[in-house]
Symmetry: C2
Subunit: 372 residues, 2 copies
């Protein structure tokens, strides 16, 4: 397909979105590290980049020594990717394919050694293109091939949302609570994309789901649901549920660096363009340390073929739901259960230590054997 400057891009917004993503250091560097720390793996491999955008991930693969990269991009951005590939002198290695990945046919029906893709949306799945990555895996990836990233998880924790609550109690000496209330009301029940500070988390996170890109099928992504109780980690105002995700890249033999590259979008990690996703409560709830916070969260595809999800949060009565074991809340049954479990764990550790002593002796014996 020849370059046609007239039909370059459907919209200016496309480029602004890509600018935002490219300038997102934690994102771009996670891919760079995951790829360039694995030169031993990438050398002479054939790779497919699903939804290559500007082509930067394909270029990382070429820099890491890949002998061929199929850079698949459905939008007109493919034309720009071709130019960027040329600018980096990789036109002999990277082949930009202007197509939906579902319509791609590779030469001689060949298969690829690895798939790289940056498919993540807000709260991981929002308008994401994971379905296309799973399709590409089934159609194009060799048995035992690698996927970058290879797994992902979504986490949830209760939080305060000062930018929609407390910050407005006293703004330079003026009370603006009516403004904050109206602001919250105006957002309806739509989740908010905003930045939550680590100190605004009100309890430990729980995983809503793990996505295994090697094994999951598209229908596995249709619905996730969790019912959970967490004890407040401190006194504060429970004002929302904070949702974030992490992606884990393969740990391969002879990798440089210290093992798995992880792209973590939690409040504790450096800010990314995904920020955090927050379901804001219409009314805050004052909680004290240890108080149980119970909720249900459902993340469901709008319809089976849709890339859009509905998020639904339900506040639950901590008295009426089952608590995890152990539970961080201060209800008597949970304190008792935790005490019992700790006692049990201590007993187990003592027993394990005794076994370890024996093991050390055995190890020495084996070493002796080896030396002989």
């Amino acid at each position: 397909m020849e370059l046609d400057s007239e039909q370059y891009f459907s919209s200016y917004e496309d480029l602004e979105v890509h600018k935002l993503m490219l300038e997102d250091g934690p994102r771009t560097l996670a891919y760079k590290n995951a790829i360039l720390n694995n030169k031993a793996y990438f050398k002479d491999k054939v790779v497919m980049d699903v939804g290559c955008g500007t082509g930067i991930l394909s270029i990382f693969c070429a820099q890491a020594g890949a002998k061929k990269v199929f850079a698949v991009e459905a939008s007109n951005l493919a034309n720009l990717a071709k130019e960027i590939v040329k600018e980096n002198k990789f036109e002999n290695i990277i082949e930009v394919i202007h197509s939906r990945v579902e319509d791609v046919v590779l030469p001689n029906y060949m298969k690829v050694d690895a798939i790289v893709s940056e498919w993540m949306g807000f709260y991981l799945l929002h308008e994401g293109m994971l379905d296309s990555v799973l399709f590409a895996r089934d159609r194009f990836l060799k048995d035992g091939g690698e996927i970058f990233p290879e797994s992902a998880a979504i986490y949830i924790a209760p939080c305060s949302v000062p930018s929609l609550y407390n910050n407005w109690d006293n703004l330079h000496g003026v009370s603006m609570s009516s403004f904050a209330r109206e602001l919250r009301a105006s957002k309806g029940s739509k989740p908010e994309i905003l930045t939550i500070k680590p100190e605004d988390l009100l309890g430990a996170e729980v995983a809503l789901c793990w996505v295994n890109l090697r094994e999951d099928e598209a229908h596995d992504l249709n619905a996730y649901s969790i019912e959970h109780v967490v004890g407040a980690s401190k006194n504060g105002y429970y004002q929302g549920l904070c949702i974030w995700f992490e992606c884990i890249f393969p740990k391969l033999p002879d990798a440089a660096g210290d093992g798995h590259t992880v792209l973590d979008t939690s409040p504790q990690s450096p800010a990314t363009h995904w920020k955090q996703t927050v379901i804001v409560l219409p009314q805050q709830q004052e909680v004290e340390e240890g108080e149980p916070i119970a909720f249900q969260l459902d993340m469901t595809r709008a319809d089976p073929t849709s890339r859009r999800y509905n998020l639904q949060m339900t506040m639950l009565d901590p008295e009426a739901v089952e608590h995890p074991l152990p539970c961080s809340c201060h209800m008597t049954k949970c304190i008792l259960a935790k005490a019992f479990m700790m006692q049990h764990a201590e007993h187990a550790i003592n027993q394990k230590n005794n076994e370890n002593d024996t093991n050390v002796l055995q190890d020495e014996e084996i070493n002796d054997d080896d030396d002989e």
Copy 2:
């Protein structure tokens, strides 16, 4: 007008824009300081807040001791302003008037002592409501009344725009110049709202205009134009014209603090939501220190009744235009002119010093007279 929660706000965006403005510390604090440092002035005064929005400036005036504030707001935000006024217990002082200021009739055709207004848009005049403030001045302000702010100026300086140029030469080891070129092209000739760092300025600023809110008429705002030459302050890449503004508040007798409050949106000042406005050149131009940069900038109302302006920049040939006196550029005529002027200035200073010696003697004589 009674509160009607159904018709509160035309759009969610309105509230987000006001959130942005309220959270803009330099903006909100400039008004707070300009008003609350002048309690001696505001005590028992009658004030009009033109386009009061959420009402925060009116509340500052009430806190400063005003006996009456007419808070005029055309949009449905007026309903929220009423609630915020109540929340701050100033409903006996602040009267929110849900109306265009052009349609307001005050009781007994009374006049006000002062007008406060936050009317500034991007590059000061973009979709601003200064016309309405000038209307309010002519219709409602007593002779000798005060206007907060009372004057404003727009400044222009040549600059580098790394976020649209150099940042893309090497992004984590990848050359993305084609991306940056496409990004610039996609923006067409529209000015960009972005943040310029002080170190990206490439020469001294020049004032495009001063707006005197006490005297200017709406038609004075129809068109501003400047033709200018400035010497590059260092070697670098000339990639755009950076435009910003400042607003100056009245300095009144018995003010607390150190004189005029200034709201300055220059690259050297703390960031505001106005950022800077930049006219980006389609092609960068390498310049060395002292090299003359010549341009013409025209800021013209789209039509005589419009609040929208067109910005037009023309690059000029430094050889073909008149240079300011003195000029910071390294062209021979400017170096010679500057040397001559400095010589002249030195001569004048010497002469002035001699005169000052005489003045001091005279002052002493006068003081002696007073003491007698």
